[in-house]
Point group: C2
Chain length 417, copies 2
Amino acid sequence: MNFMPQSQTSVDPVKLEKLAEVAVKVGLQLQTGQDLVITAPVVALPLVRLITKHAYMAGAGLVTAFYSDEESTLARYRYGSDQSFDRASDWLYDGMAKTYAKGTARLAVSGDNPMLLSEQDPAKVGRANRANSAAYKPALEKISNFDINWNIVSYPNPSWAALVFPDDPDAIAVAKLAKAIFAASRVDVEDPIAAWAEHNANLAKRSHWLNGERFASLHFTGPGTDLTVGLADGHEWHGGSSTAKNGITCNPNIPTEEVFTTPHALKVEGHVSSTKPLSHQGTLIDDIRVRFEGGRIVEAKASRGEEVLNKVLDTDEGARRLGEVALVPHSSPISVSGILFYNTLFDENASCHIALGQCYSKCFVNGASLTQEQIKAQGGNSSLIHIDWMIGSGQVDIDGIRPDGSRVPVMRQGEWA
Amino acid sequence: MNFMPQSQTSVDPVKLEKLAEVAVKVGLQLQTGQDLVITAPVVALPLVRLITKHAYMAGAGLVTAFYSDEESTLARYRYGSDQSFDRASDWLYDGMAKTYAKGTARLAVSGDNPMLLSEQDPAKVGRANRANSAAYKPALEKISNFDINWNIVSYPNPSWAALVFPDDPDAIAVAKLAKAIFAASRVDVEDPIAAWAEHNANLAKRSHWLNGERFASLHFTGPGTDLTVGLADGHEWHGGSSTAKNGITCNPNIPTEEVFTTPHALKVEGHVSSTKPLSHQGTLIDDIRVRFEGGRIVEAKASRGEEVLNKVLDTDEGARRLGEVALVPHSSPISVSGILFYNTLFDENASCHIALGQCYSKCFVNGASLTQEQIKAQGGNSSLIHIDWMIGSGQVDIDGIRPDGSRVPVMRQGEWA
């Protein structure tokens, strides 16, 4: 083969293969005979090849990969006519939903340039995102409902690396980002599988404590933040590995440092400020400040990307309400690295965060057996979107509020109390 | 962008962009607002990007590209378990069939290594091909029935170039193959669009003459060949540009030098020998010798790839019968180049050829309005496969036989008589 991205030389091939192995064995727990759908940026081809290899070694049925390409994405904005921006590949997403319904696992490789669309017309970006979200809904539901085992891992895309390490030459930036990804993904140790087992046990201990407390709400205070997040009736905390409705225990996110649950869509009050920039489908949104009334965002500002943020909030009614709240200590390895990744998969694991939009049905007691109506009645939100953004820092305190109004310190200055 | 296959440096970027423009404007005649699905080897990314650009410049709705990867294809054979070889992405092909039914155009970039699977177990290759053919059927029917405008162009994949020019270093082989592709695709002239208009007019003149003659059959004689190919009732010759059922006039194959029609599935008698190797899904099949009785292949031999050939013939009943007969003069530019491409899209345009399997409904008078039953009654073949192979050379003569038994010379020593 003569085809190799230049960045390949900067990426340790042994660790890259360990990442592929962890994605298949820990991330997916891919089963004998199970089909796999992979989505990835085309620059991540070296990782996709290794994942494909380890998937077949694990007894995969058929592995099918779909590649996105930044240049081709930009071509629509540079040369496309206006009508193009309301189109989406609904037939492809419908097909994905069908194959997920038949038990196919899903692995996404992350690594797109977080700033790809930052120079493009926000109105067109908003229309394209909305069309894509609507088309993607049936497939996303299989994932957000946790019907199947799924996983996301990351690849050090040169355009992403250039944003994270702007002062370094390309090859150095890629090498640094690769090292950070390998460390955060726990594949830079001798036995990554054992390291993940230990990490999963620690996260399970935190979830267990929170599930025992059964708080009615969490109260966040810090600079620019005074927010009370009501928790859904019958909410359940999760973290680390988790069992999908198909019975397979997987680690959806690699890396992961969070424990998380479902807020009550109607019971969020106060104001909150973001503590890290959010990269949403190629647009950077920074310094978000929003105000909630009755669970709904009634005011939203940002120092950068405010127009795209407001278009996101207008996606549907549920886009203005919360679908997730997650706790991450300020001392998490990703936070300690000091690197701002401009990638939610990493930045959300350096900081407590909340997510706009769709809730996870697994974050309810007996979530797998609840209907959509029951989830809604218990306070679960529904939306075409699910967008995490970071609100934690070393200056944020969190209290758990019990149903009787008494308070329990949960975090102080960003650390478990 | 830091991502560029090494071969890119060997390929003239100006001619590559002309190829992309010809694919969109001549090959597809892509319409304003029409969606486009592209399939391509991942090494062809530079061409796919240019096609995407020109598609959007032509007013495309949404352009969606799917990439295959030779290393990932091989991973199934190297590491996959036995059950994997009966799987196919039916959900993806079903989706493609649906979007084609809604008017989406289809462009395939050819260029896969013709020998990719030659070292693999023929039984597994046969099973994988059969599963894929069955799954692909609904999408292929939209193409073979000419419901939509579609096109194939080629990219000089390094692994293909190495096979065509085995004595040259990689970069030279790619440069030579690129040059041959550009010449055969008529993009090495100042005005490729005008060159294609003239070429299409010449091919139309040949078809017109053959349609006036209304031969009952063609009689091929040459070394190892004495074959009478009955033509279907109400057959119609086509060549060059052609109008799809959606009303769009396109050039499905680039390059193309052939005029072709539908044989009668029950009226082929005698024996025939291939004059060039056939590359079928990664296996090279050489020196094919088959004998027909009543339209059916009753004996098939090959000096190489015989096992795969016989598995192909066992795909279904129609796989043993002909779906196409095509006439190409021995002096065609591709033949004169003297290059053996190991790629049917090129080699079939250097030589008269026949195709096993599915017929084209457009190759009937009023083909667009015929039902499947009518097509069958008139002698049209149906099958999951459509595989062209070469039977023409400078030593082959062809007579046209009229319904009254009289003979008209059609070709002598490989040239129009």
